[in-house]
Amino acid sequence: MAEISNERPDNQLLLWEVFVQEGTGEAHGHAGNVHASDAEMALQSARDVYARRGDVTSIWVVPSAAITATTPDDVAPFFGPAADKIYRHPQFYKIPRDVKFQ
């Protein structure tokens, strides 16, 4: 008997992450994602979905598959140690009286 698959094929093309820059010199921030067959179509969709309103100066699209991310299991080893070593945080240190800052 043939195996019945519960997986639904994704017929919505490839997934792309969209990064939008709002103003020259600003960092590109993650805006969301779009489905598209290739980079050019992803750029166009990103423009229509995320950049039609507001002052956008540049868009990046990146294949979602190209992103390597941490998993929930990584949280403790990756981010845990910082909490108990408070001297690693700049706030730990008192600023000497003679140091001026703005």
Partner: protein, 262 residues
């Protein structure tokens, strides 16, 4: 429009400028309405939003051209009165834009044909010495170039895509080809203003259109059709049966409740 510009226009020129603004306004109003019919029916979310955006751009551009047409006519008609209170035979849009959406390939082929024509026409119109029209042309051209890019990218992907997508896009190109002569020949108003040197002549635009369209279709692995039974008459108010149905939907609210606001 400044008073000085109004005075300097010969009555005949003014009449033809009115016709030209009306024709572009009608093209964009009808095309925008057609595209709005896709709302909620796009092949996937992103394309649904893209089609909605293009539809809104077209309607905004139509409003600018029709408002100018109303001013040139000088009989107190606004963009709204021109859009909602004229009958089929008073519309001067080309046949191409009133053709039904069909499948996605049909919509994109229609868009490709029209946007290439419009962008070439606007490139010349933005240098027109009648500045109110040049201003609207310049603004419209920016948006049209984006619409053209969108349609062209789809043509390349569908034409040079799967066996079915190629079949469908070729069928759309073949079906709509008969409506392209009307664009290239230009209206009487366009020919008049071309002779006056206010805009490029229809012939110049037609040659460029043919050349660029051949390049695009060839790149998309599609055949350039050869048709002899070309359809004309839209600019003189002769339309296909499609326009009446479209106008019924477009105009019913404004005609049922004249002056209603919300």
């Amino acid at each position: 429009m400044t008073e000085a510009q109004e005075i300097s226009l010969a009555p005949e020129t003014k009449q033809h400028l009115f016709q030209l603004a009306l024709q572009l306004g009608d093209d964009l109003l009808i095309l925008g309405h057609r595209l709005s019919e896709w709302c909620g029916h796009g092949p996937y979310l992103e394309e649904d939003i893209a089609l909605g955006n293009i539809a809104l751009d077209c309607l905004g551009e139509a409003q600018n051209f029709l408002a100018l047409a109303g001013e040139l006519e000088g009989r107190g008609r606004t963009a709204d009165t021109l859009a909602y209170f004229r009958n089929e035979y008073e519309f001067q849009n080309c046949h191409l834009v009133e053709q039904p959406n069909g499948d996605f390939a049909m919509t994109m082929a229609r868009q490709l044909f029209y946007d290439l024509y419009l962008s070439l026409f606007l490139e010349s119109l933005q240098r027109c010495s009648f500045s109110p029209l040049a201003g609207i042309a310049e603004k419209t051209l920016k948006e049209t170039r984006y619409h053209l890019r969108h349609a062209k990218e789809w043509a390349l992907r569908l034409g040079d895509g799967t066996a079915e997508s190629q079949l469908r896009f070729q069928a759309a190109v073949d079906h709509l080809w008969i409506y392209t002569a009307e664009l290239s020949e230009g209206s009487q108003a366009h020919r008049f203003l071309g002779e006056q040197g206010l805009v490029s002549t229809p012939q110049l635009i037609a040659e460029r259109w043919q050349q660029l369209m051949t390049e695009i279709l060839t790149e998309a692995q599609l055949r350039v059709p050869v048709s002899t039974n070309m359809i004309r008459g839209g600019r003189e108010g002769k339309h296909s049966e499609q326009l009446g149905h479209l106008l019924a939907e477009l105009q019913i609210v404004a005609r049922s409740y004249p002056g209603a606001t919300w």
